[in-house]
C-alpha cells in the first residue's frame, strides 16, 4: 500500500509544471480567450513532442502506455494554468473513447495521429436535455446502404470547431450506438456556444442526415452504453483533476495575497476570519487530491470500487472546487472581482467543469444506486 507518487510521476508533474509556467502564462491564456481558434499550434506541437498527447495510449500506437494517475497529474497542472486548448477533448474524450471502444483498425488510424498532434478528437456526450445517461440519447442513426445516416443535435461539444473526429452517440434500431463523425462533413453544422470560461470552447453540433461509412461505427450496434459509462468515469476523474489544479492555484493566490494585503493596519492573513477560511480551503484541496488520485488509481488498476471511486471523486471535487475558488474571490475582496486580476481564469475553469460528466448530485445518486444494488446481493 503506497499512496505516494513514484519518482517518474514526480518528474512528469515537474516537467509539465515547468513547461506550462513557461509557455502557458496568464498572458497566453488571455490572448487565447480573444483568439478565433482558441489555442496555439506551437504549444500543441510542443505537447506532442513531450509525449503528453499520447500519454495513455499503447506504445505501438505512438503512446507512452501510462495510466490515469499520470494523465491526472498532467490535467491537474493544466487546471492550475487554465490551459486553453483541446487537450482534454482530444486525449481524454476522443482518445480514451477510441481506446475503450474502437476496433484495431480505428485505433490504428486515430490514436497515433492524436498522439502526434496531427489530429484532434472530441466526443459529443450531451444533448438538449443535459442527461448524462447514454440511454437517454435522442439523436438517430439509420442504416443507409453499407453505412449510416445520423441526425440530431449535440450540445456543449468541447473543441468541436477544431476537431478532426468526434465520437457521437446515436440511437440505432439496435440501441444506442457510437459513431466517428468528421465535424466538417456535409450536413454537420458547428456553432460556437460561448461560456464564461473563454479559454475552454464549446460548440453545438447539428447533424442533418449526415452520411457516415460502415467503418465509422465504434463497437457493435447498440453497444455504446458500456463504452460511454467507462468513458464518462474517466472523464469525470480527469475533469476533477483539472478542477483540483484550478482550486490549488486559487488557494496559492489567496495565501500569497493575504500575506501582503493590509487593512486596519494589519496583514489580513493574521485575522482568524481569513486564516480559518484559508485553512478550510487547504483541507478541501487536500481531500480533493485524495479523491482524484484514489479514483485514478482504482480505474487504472481495475479495482472493485473503481466506479464508486469515480463518483466519490466527481461529487466531492465538484463542490470542493466551487468552495475553494469562490472563497478565493472572497478573501481577495474587490480585486478578485476584476477582469484584470487573473483569479477569475481559474474560478471559471473550475465552474465550467463542475456540471460536466455529471455534477455532484448526479454522482451522489450513482453512489446510492451502487450501494443499494450491492446490499441487495
Amino acid at each position: 500500500m503506497n499512496f505516494s507518487f513514484s519518482e517518474d510521476q514526480v518528474l512528469l508533474k515537474n516537467s509539465v509544471r515547468a513547461a506550462l509556467d513557461e509557455q502557458c502564462k496568464p498572458a497566453h491564456v488571455r490572448a487565447m480567450m480573444d483568439d478565433a481558434t482558441g489555442y496555439r499550434e506551437a504549444l500543441w506541437g510542443e505537447m506532442a513532442k513531450l509525449g503528453w498527447l499520447g500519454l495513455p495510449f499503447a506504445e505501438e500506437q505512438g503512446g507512452a502506455g501510462l495510466g490515469l494517475v499520470e494523465l491526472c497529474l498532467v490535467l491537474e497542472e493544466m487546471g492550475r494554468a487554465a490551459y486553453p486548448g483541446p487537450y482534454f477533448a482530444s486525449v481524454v474524450l476522443g482518445g480514451l473513447g477510441l481506446q475503450l471502444g474502437g476496433s484495431a483498425a480505428q485505433k490504428e488510424k486515430w490514436l497515433p495521429a492524436i498522439a502526434s498532434g496531427q489530429a484532434r478528437a472530441s466526443a459529443a456526450l450531451l444533448e438538449d436535455a443535459l442527461d448524462w445517461d447514454p440511454a437517454s440519447t435522442t439523436a438517430t442513426a439509420t442504416k443507409a446502404g453499407d453505412g449510416w445516416r445520423l441526425s440530431g443535435v449535440k450540445r456543449f461539444v468541447p473543441w468541436a470547431h477544431v476537431a478532426d473526429v468526434v465520437l457521437v452517440p446515436a440511437r440505432a434500431p439496435e440501441g444506442v450506438s457510437l459513431f466517428l463523425v468528421d465535424p466538417r462533413a456535409a450536413g454537420v453544422t458547428v456553432t460556437p456556444m460561448v461560456g464564461i470560461d473563454l479559454a475552454n470552447r464549446w460548440s453545438e453540433m447539428r447533424l442533418g442526415d449526415v452520411a457516415v461509412p460502415a467503418d465509422a461505427l465504434v463497437g457493435s450496434p447498440g453497444g455504446a452504453g458500456s463504452v460511454l459509462d467507462a468513458l464518462l468515469r474517466r472523464a469525470a476523474v480527469g475533469a476533477s483533476a483539472e478542477m483540483l489544479g484550478a482550486a490549488r492555484r486559487c488557494l496559492e493566490m489567496s495565501v500569497g495575497y493575504v500575506k501582503v494585503r493590509e487593512q486596519f493596519g494589519q496583514l489580513i492573513g493574521s485575522f482568524q476570519a481569513i486564516r480559518h477560511r484559508c485553512a478550510e480551503m487547504l483541507l478541501e484541496v487536500e481531500n480533493s487530491h485524495s479523491a482524484v488520485y484514489y479514483a485514478a488509481w482504482a480505474l487504472t488498476a481495475g479495482a472493485e470500487d473503481a466506479a464508486m471511486a469515480a463518483s466519490v471523486c466527481k461529487s466531492y471535487v465538484s463542490e470542493s472546487a466551487r468552495k475553494v475558488c469562490g472563497d478565493a474571490i472572497q478573501v481577495h475582496g474587490g480585486i478578485g472581482f476584476t477582469w484584470e486580476y487573473d483569479l477569475h481564469l481559474y474560478f471559471k475553469r473550475a465552474k465550467a467543469l463542475e456540471p460536466l460528466y455529471g455534477d455532484a448530485a448526479h454522482h451522489r445518486e450513482l453512489i446510492v444506486r451502487g450501494q443499494v444494488s450491492h446490499s441487495n446481493k
Binding site: 503506497n2 499512496f3 500575506k259 486564516r275 481531500n287 488520485y293 466519490v312 461529487s315 450501494q371 446490499s375
Partner: protein, 404 residues
C-alpha cells in the same frame, strides 16, 4: 502509487481476524473483565505494537497497528482499557522518559496493571492550554502540587496521571511549565466524575491539594513541559486511522438499512431523492476520509511524521463525524434520540468511544466532543494557517511576553 495491500499485510490481517474469531469475548460487564480482555490482546502482541521491544512493545510497523485496530472495529471488538496510557502517556515516556522511567512504567501500561489519565486542561485553560495555573513547587527532594484539572478521561479509575503544572510563575507563559507523573492514589487527590451531555461520565475533575510528586517522576527538564505536551498532542500516529473509517462504514450500513424500513410521504426514505442525495454525499465524504487515512499511513510507513498535517486530518474527520451524525438523526427521527427501549432495528451495535455497544443517541451526542478535544477545530485551523500556509500570526496579548 499502489493502493493494494501487500501480501504480507493481507496475511497479517487474516491472522488478526482469525485470532479475534477465537478470542473475542461476547460481552464485557465490568472493568475487571475489560482488563482481562486487555491482557489477552497484549499477550497476543496486539497492544503497544509500535513501542520498543525492550519495554514490552513489538516494534511493529504503523500499517500492522492500523490493521489490528481496523480488524477490531470490523469485528465490533471491545476496546482495550487504559486508552490514555496506550495513546498518550506511553508514547510520551518512550520519547521523553529516562530509561528508569521506561522500565518502571511502560510494561504496566500494556498489562493494564496500572491505569493512567492525563492532567492537562483546566477550567481556565482549554484552547489556551498554556494559561494553566496548577502549581508544582520544588521542595528540594519532591514537588508539591496544588490546582484543579478538568476533562480528565478515565480519572476515576486511574492509578497514575501525566501532569502539566507551572513550576516557574515568573517565566513567560509557555516557558514555566513542566511535566510530571503523579500518583493518583494519594490523599491530596480528589477525583470527581464530570457528567457530560451524554449523561455518562467518561471524564472527571481532579482537585489537587498539597499532592506530592517525587523528583524521579519529572519528565524532561524543568520548563520543558509545553514542548513535551505539544509532541504528546501530536501522537495521533495513524493507529486508529483505518479503524475509525470502518466504524463509520458499519454505522452507515445500519443507517441505510433503517432508511429502507422508515417511510416518508408513503415511501421508504431510501427512495426519497433528497435523502439519497444526503446519503450519497456522506458516503463520498466517508470514502475521502478513508483515502486520507491511506495517505497518512503511507507517510508513517515511510518513517515520515505528518506534523501539522495531522491537524488537517483531525479537522476533517471530526467535522465529518458531526455532519454524519446530523444526517443519521435526520433519517432516524425520534429513534435517533432513544437511549433506552431502542427497537432492535435501530440499535447501533458497534463499538463506541468507550468500548460499549451504543445507541445512535450516544454516538450523535459524542460527535460534538470530537471538534473540541485535543485542539478544537478553531485551534486546528490556526495551526494549519500558521504552520502549513505560513500566514502571519495574529496579534495576541500573550505574545507580548511578560510573566504570569
Amino acid at each position: 502509487m499502489d493502493l493494494n495491500y501487500t501480501a504480507e499485510d493481507v496475511a497479517f490481517r487474516k491472522q488478526v481476524r482469525t485470532w479475534l474469531e477465537h478470542n473475542m469475548p461476547r460481552q464485557i460487564r465490568n472493568l475487571d473483565e475489560r482488563k482481562g480482555w486487555h491482557r489477552r490482546l497484549y499477550e497476543a502482541g496486539y497492544l503497544g505494537m509500535g513501542w520498543p521491544r525492550e519495554y514490552g512493545g513489538q516494534g511493529a510497523r504503523p500499517m500492522e497497528q492500523a490493521i489490528v485496530a481496523d480488524e477490531m472495529a470490523r469485528a465490533g471488538a471491545p476496546a482495550p482499557t487504559n486508552g490514555l496510557g496506550l495513546g498518550i502517556v506511553g508514547p510520551t515516556i518512550v520519547v521523553h522518559g529516562t530509561d528508569t522511567q521506561k522500565r518502571r512504567y511502560l510494561r504496566k501500561i500494556l498489562t493494564a496493571e496500572e491505569m493512567w489519565c492525563q492532567l492537562y486542561s483546566e477550567p481556565n485553560a482549554g484552547s489556551d492550554l498554556a494559561a494553566l495555573r496548577t502549581r508544582a513547587e520544588d521542595k528540594g527532594d519532591h514537588f508539591v502540587v496544588n490546582g484543579q484539572k478538568i476533562w480528565t478521561s478515565g480519572g476515576a479509575t486511574a492509578d497514575w496521571g501525566l501532569l502539566l503544572a507551572r513550576t516557574d510563575p515568573a517565566a513567560p507563559k509557555h516557558k514555566g511549565i513542566s511535566c510530571f507523573l503523579i500518583d493518583m492514589r494519594q490523599p491530596g487527590m480528589d477525583v470527581r466524575p464530570l457528567k457530560q451531555i451524554t449523561g455518562s461520565s467518561e471524564f472527571c475533575e481532579v482537585f489537587m491539594t498539597n499532592a506530592r510528586v517525587e523528583k524521579e517522576n519529572q519528565i524532561g527538564r524543568l520548563g520543558e513541559g509545553w514542548g513535551i505536551a505539544q509532541t504528546t498532542l501530536g501522537y495521533e500516529r495513524g493507529g486508529r486511522a483505518l479503524a475509525r473509517i470502518t466504524t463509520y462504514a458499519s454505522q452507515y450500513n445500519h443507517l441505510v438499512a433503517a432508511a429502507r424500513r422508515l417511510k416518508r410521504n408513503g415511501r421508504p426514505i431510501l427512495d426519497d431523492a433528497v435523502a439519497r442525495q444526503k446519503l450519497g454525499r456522506i458516503w463520498a465524504d466517508l470514502e475521502v476520509e478513508r483515502y486520507g487515512a491511506l495517505r497518512t499511513l503511507t507517510m508513517l510507513e515511510r518513517g515520515e511524521h505528518p506534523g501539522a498535517g495531522g491537524s488537517i486530518t483531525k479537522l476533517s474527520y471530526s467535522e465529518f463525524e458531526k455532519r454524519f451524525m446530523e444526517l443519521a438523526e435526520e433519517i432516524l427521527g425520534p429513534y435517533g434520540q432513544l437511549t433506552d427501549g431502542v427497537p432492535a432495528e435501530y440499535r447501533l451495535e458497534v463499538d463506541t468511544a468507550i468500548g460499549d455497544h451504543g445507541t445512535w443517541a450516544y454516538a450523535f451526542l459524542w460527535s460534538r466532543a470530537g471538534t473540541i478535544y485535543a485542539g478544537s477545530s478553531e485551534i486546528q485551523k490556526n495551526v494549519i494557517g500558521e504552520r502549513i500556509l505560513g500566514l502571519p500570526k495574529e496579534s495576541r496579548a500573550d505574545r507580548v511576553g511578560g510573566p504570569r
